[in-house]
Symmetry: C2
């Protein structure tokens, strides 16, 4: 009984993902996925601040509860809309479309969608994005790409965050990256510390290239 | 269409949770829930090693993929069974019953069930346990009880792990505990470092008391 319904849910989501794709023509749309507390919001705060002179950006924030993250993002001066999933474990395209109705999309270069903190469920739902971006923090352990393979398989970029804590934890960067690239051969990996603001240059270079690709259509 | 089916799934799970409850009479059964990489397996390794002279224990390990954690647990000399959810985001009672068929339950004092690393979905599924135990690591941020309230509401104990990293991260222990206790007034909180083996005494005292309560029936 369960499987056909789950399939219907995924099919309905896929149809609405196509509607999202129509509405974000020319706007680079990134779906940020990670465990709780890996640093998605801090990555956004840095990126929005550092690239505000270059790009017009907006953020859709997904959370089970609270609008804390949307308020953090809005403090950078960038448009932010909160989706409260009311306990739901992932975003879907219907929620994203509802959020887009509250955004001024005119002239946007980048739309960031911060998914619910969850390394499993969000990956299964296409939001009409150009790319899923995985964020893994070194405090979570170097075995995560092996244990939670779907995200590392589907992501088009991996941000390895909290590298400032490497001296204090057991995390073998080479091991994690090797696992991830076994699933996803040419996966770009950016080693950063979002709280310290370190290592973000290559991430920004990647973003610039993606914006250019998207605009070229 | 979706909601009634989800309700059926939860009802079917609840029935099988009753079957689990019958089978663990006199055996303290704990459902360990956390984000990926918060330290569930390391907490188990320490606990199994330190209490092996006192209690007969066993572990059911839930993972999307790999039997890495079951192998880590088995290395302590304790019985371990792996449940591979094949991508599923949480354990359910049916999976737990299947795993129990592979365990020698005779004379057990404690059965630990390590759920899939996920701060959302596992909390919604009763596994027939005596208590859910939440594990939160300080690297995840002190806002997690507020943002993921269900686990912190339902847990009967909270292990606050990785306190050895407090000097290097922005985490206000008081703030996290205040949020958690706003949801769950008398929640016991154990501040530990599982990798360093620090602060575990109170956790063990709590476990001993729970075993005694369970046996008293």
């Amino acid at each position: 009984m369960q499987i056909p319904v789950v399939r219907n849910v995924l099919e309905a989501n896929e149809k609405l993902a196509q509607v999202v794709r129509e509405r974000v023509r020319g706007i680079l749309t990134l779906n940020l996925i990670s465990s709780p507390g890996a640093g998605k919001t801090t990555l956004l705060e840095r990126t929005l601040t550092d690239l505000s002179g270059e790009f017009k950006m907006a953020v859709i924030e997904g959370d089970l509860q609270t609008d804390n993250d949307a308020r953090r993002v809005a403090a950078t001066g960038v448009q932010a809309v909160q989706i409260d999933t009311d306990g739901g474990c992932h975003l879907d395209s219907k929620l994203v479309l509802q959020a887009m109705d509250h955004l001024d999309m005119e002239g946007l270069d980048i739309l960031f969608i911060e998914n619910v903190g969850n390394l499993v469920c969000p990956t299964e739902f296409d939001l009409g994005e150009d790319a899923k971006v995985g964020i893994l923090s070194v405090t979570e352990g170097d075995d995560k790409p092996e244990k939670y393979p779907l995200l590392f398989n589907l992501a088009k970029a991996l941000v390895l965050n909290k590298v400032d804590l490497l001296p204090y934890v057991n995390f073998d960067v080479e091991r994690a990256v090797t696992f991830a690239r076994r699933l996803n051969k040419d996966l770009p990996v950016f080693q950063v510390s979002c709280t310290k603001g370190e290592g973000l240059k290559d991430w920004y270079t990647w973003l610039r290239a993606q914006v250019k690709l998207k605009k070229a259509g």
